[in-house]
Amino acid sequence: MSDDLKTPLLDELEKGAWPSFVKDLKSMADKKPMVKDLLGQLEKSYADKRGYWKHGGLVGVMGYGGGVIGRYSALPDEFPGVSHFHTMRVNQPSGWFYTSDALNELFDIWDEHGSGLLNVHGSTGDLVFLGTVTDELEPTFRALTAKNWDLGGSGSDLRTPSCCVGPARCENACYDTLALSYDLTHNYQDELHRPMFNYKYKIKMSGCPNDCTAAIARSDMGIIGIWKDDIQVDQAAFAEYIDSEMDIQGSVVDKCPTGCISVEGKEIKIDNSNCVKCMHCINTLPKALRVGKERGAAITLGAKAPIVEGALFGSVMIPFMDMSNFEDMHDLIDRIWEFWDEHGKNRERIGECIERIGLATFLEGIGLDPVPQMVKQPRDNPYIFYEEYFEEEEEA
């Protein structure tokens, strides 16, 4: 980077063991005036202890209400290169599998139309193009679609469905996360590009309870692979772990959250009726233990970060769903959206909506029967009335 821009505060971020984004920005600053001004504005922000970005609300591409996040500098005269600095979300391939050619394609498009800065990947799951001007949005979009790429979601729409690597690289996958992600992305194109909800709706798919997409904490709807039958055991492989003098007691048996594992001689015994599918034993003894054969997914609803209400984990709505086809999933999603559309408030996520109206009303609304797995905690409300149930029994 040329010497005329001094960034003593940003320079501090280059020190230490970890790679710094500042180093990357500096390497591009001579090629892209936009990046140089970005460094300048950032340095000023650090010095003044305040941000200088303004949120844009209208910029986008024709027909789409999502995929572009408008950003403007509050100091356009001082840093004209970043007077517009819009972000574009590019819909990522399922499981984030790219070929080198595909990545080069994206890099070339962004070098031509934007700052060249990328976020691979953003927390939404999308590949994020960072920084361009309003006049370059449509040309960027045309260049992307010409190569069969598309924008992802933003605003009050279905956010880009996101999944783990699934059966492509993981033996624990209980369903084909890649196929479902692809299916939902194509089936819900309108919902993805044309904001029509009360607020955002995120779907994340993990192939097993390890939950590599953090669906339980980061998605309005988590689709997490699970099995119904027993953990598969290879006793010969387990005996090899014993022979290797691995601390099975300390590393596996004592750490089972429900205490359902015991060891007799060189054999492992698992009380599967008490297994809560935490995955610890399978992760620790991958040669001896595998997920069961009767596989499907558990559906959770309601996780979110703290915005209107506090942060929420997702809670189980369907303990097990067969995933051999996706028709039931479409039907479930449609029923949830229909209900949320009807009863949700502005900027209210589905989890907040359920908290407000009550789980019983929600279940009745979408036509789901209550099951014990939905219970999050012992009830703390003593005023539960059973009259209507007694009446139904008497009538029967």
Partner: protein, 81 residues
């Protein structure tokens, strides 16, 4: 479904958006509820979705975002100044 065309719904929606410009940001669901309230079961949610699509694709309205997404008349936003 008796006789309310997608174009008619789109025109009604446009009028609502124009009347509320600068006062209230209308969401897709606001427009849909207004139309079902006005026309009852003569319009479906699918009709309303199609009407919104028509408004957006024709450029008469644009999507905006301020906390949540809304449907607005095209204008230059203040942040861009």
């Amino acid at each position: 479904m008796a006789g309310i065309s997608i174009e008619q719904i789109a025109d009604d929606m446009y009028q609502l958006v124009a009347e509320s410009a600068g006062q209230k940001k209308l969401k897709s669901t606001d427009l849909t509820k207004a139309m079902t309230s006005k026309y009852g079961d003569q319009v479906s949610k699918q009709d309303c979705k199609a009407a919104i699509k028509l408004l957006i694709d024709s450029g008469r309205c644009v999507y905006g975002y301020f906390g949540g997404s809304s449907i607005e008349l095209p204008h230059k936003e203040a942040s861009a100044n």
